[in-house]
């Protein structure tokens, strides 16, 4: 099992604890702006929780994801007729139910990007009541949610799709916040000179000082945006011009609230040759 830095291990442990405490009756959801390590932490935590990577099934929600793909749907068979096929949730639930001595996880990335009430269907209610069976829409077979199946998810709470989550859905979530984290940033960038990392930490601190109450949700990105940086030059220059600048200045949209703070604390944006060391 890979061991990460202290801060990263603490976040993974927080998610594992949430799964142990609430996985039997809620959807455990990691919430954070882009680049806060949600997918990374969720994957690592799911593997720790199950003890075996193959017992973690991953799926990513999107606008074309439907109830038929998730719970149950009709498919054409080879003879031109129809047959009922379990969706990814039901298939994994059946596997978990057939193997009650093991923990199973269904990891749902980008939870809010699908039409959740439609996609989840009965799962929305019965995730909380695992002893109560429900009948599926097409096959009319009784299903209970396996007690050893945990639904783990990630989402961006500032995305338009997340803002529309209603109270019934929110009530079924147990949310683990994943804000931008300076300690995880330092652990991720141990290969870079200390002065470079200090400058990046100053960037996040400046933004937090500007809006201390809303920082976690206002920040356009988290520490994970620097995950691919292998060297100060030219990676930090390229990252600015190919990604960060476009997140801060978007056409026909007011500039981001943190634009000035981030520009002032990002010296590498000026030239490929810029170095702080």
């Amino acid at each position: 099992m890979t061991q990460y830095g202290q801060a990263t291990e603490a976040k993974i442990a927080e998610v594992v604890t949430a799964c142990e405490s609430h996985g039997a009756n809620s959807i455990v959801a990691l919430a954070g702006v882009p680049g806060t390590g949600k997918s990374f932490v969720a994957t690592a935590a799911a593997r720790r929780f199950t003890g075996e990577p193959l017992l973690v099934r991953e799926v990513q929600f999107h606008q074309s994801f439907s109830y038929e793909e998730f719970v149950e749907g009709m498919r054409l068979d080879s003879k031109g007729g129809f047959l009922v096929k379990p969706g990814v949730f039901l298939e994994w639930n059946d596997r978990a139910a057939a193997d009650p001595g093991r923990r199973y996880v269904l990891l749902i990335e980008e939870l809010t990007r699908a039409n959740l009430p439609a996609v989840l269907g009965e799962v929305l209610t019965y995730v909380e009541y695992r002893d109560r069976p429900f009948l599926t829409i097409y096959d009319r077979r009784p299903v209970t949610l396996a007690k050893n199946l945990t639904l783990l998810a990630t989402y961006n709470p500032t995305d338009r799709s997340a803002i529309e989550l209603d109270a019934a859905l929110m009530r079924r979530l147990r949310i683990v916040s994943c804000p931008p984290d300076n300690a995880q940033l330092r652990e991720m960038l141990t290969h870079l000179p200390g002065k470079v990392v200090d400058t990046l930490v100053d960037l996040f601190d400046a933004c937090q000082k500007q809006h201390p109450d809303d920082y976690e949700h206002l920040m356009p990105f988290g520490h994970g945006i620097f995950a691919g940086v292998t060297a100060e030059r030219p990676d930090l220059y390229d990252l600015w011009h190919e990604r960060i600048a476009h997140m801060l200045r978007r056409p026909l949209v007011p500039h981001h609230a943190f634009l000035k703070s981030i520009e002032e604390h990002y010296p590498w944006r000026k030239s490929r040759a810029t170095t702080v060391t």
Binding site: T2, S39, F40, T43, A44, R47, E52, P53, L54, L55, V56, E58, K85, R95, A98, D99, R102, A227
Partner: protein, 281 residues
Amino acid sequence: MTDGTETTWGGTLHSTFCLLPPRSESLFAYLGSDGLHRAAARGRLPFDRRRSSRAGEEEPDDRRRRDMRHICEWSGLAYEDETKTVRVTELGRAVLRWTRAPSPGAAPLINEGNALILGRHAAYALAACQLRNPTGAGEKYHPSMVVFPFAFIWRVMLASEGRLNSDELNRAVLRIRDESGIGECVERIAASRAASDVSLLGDSTLTGRTNDRLIAWMSLASFGWVLLRKKDRSGFYTIRPGAEEILRSAASIGYAHLEHATNAEFVAYLSSRAALPQEPR
């Protein structure tokens, strides 16, 4: 590029490959030999001196090691490199994790209820296996043989009521030379069954310890009896419940027929097709 002359599938006599109880203990001993020279791997294979047919021997016959190597190469689990060192692939390590007892007396992870989870990943790898390949047994085939043996076996079974018997395998399937032969094979099987006439399948391909060789093919195609069932009383191999969709999906992947330079490259390629989850960062 192989330059053999064989135009029908051959058959090996390797030991039974079985992942569910009773398991192939020799296989797990071999998979547990990652990084060891093949002589050391041979020494780890289970050996009962009292039952040995060779008086005075202290180690198993090297043929058992070669059998395990063959099974592992053709299913993407392990290979022996140019220094004769055993190298276990990612898929091989997954199999070992699932089949090894976590502590003495404890049950392994794999059981009848969850075996298809591992089976799905194995099916994606097996579907990429080519008859013509750089392993010893794969080098004898004519360049015109463009055969994915396990994918072809599954496709024939899926089109033949989900079952296949030894005669159908030996007389019809083992003659397929490329994808265009699958349809004709299915038709011959259907005609043979309708008329209850084995001769309509064609002549036998394998002779000499035929049953053992055919079982060897099917044990690999089933990934150690995870995807397919052993012969039933009527003599048919059948698809395990729940495995049909897995086999249909894996067999439909249009893998390109590749010219692998070494057996290491070939086996590593098979393992890479298994779609195993990667360690984050």
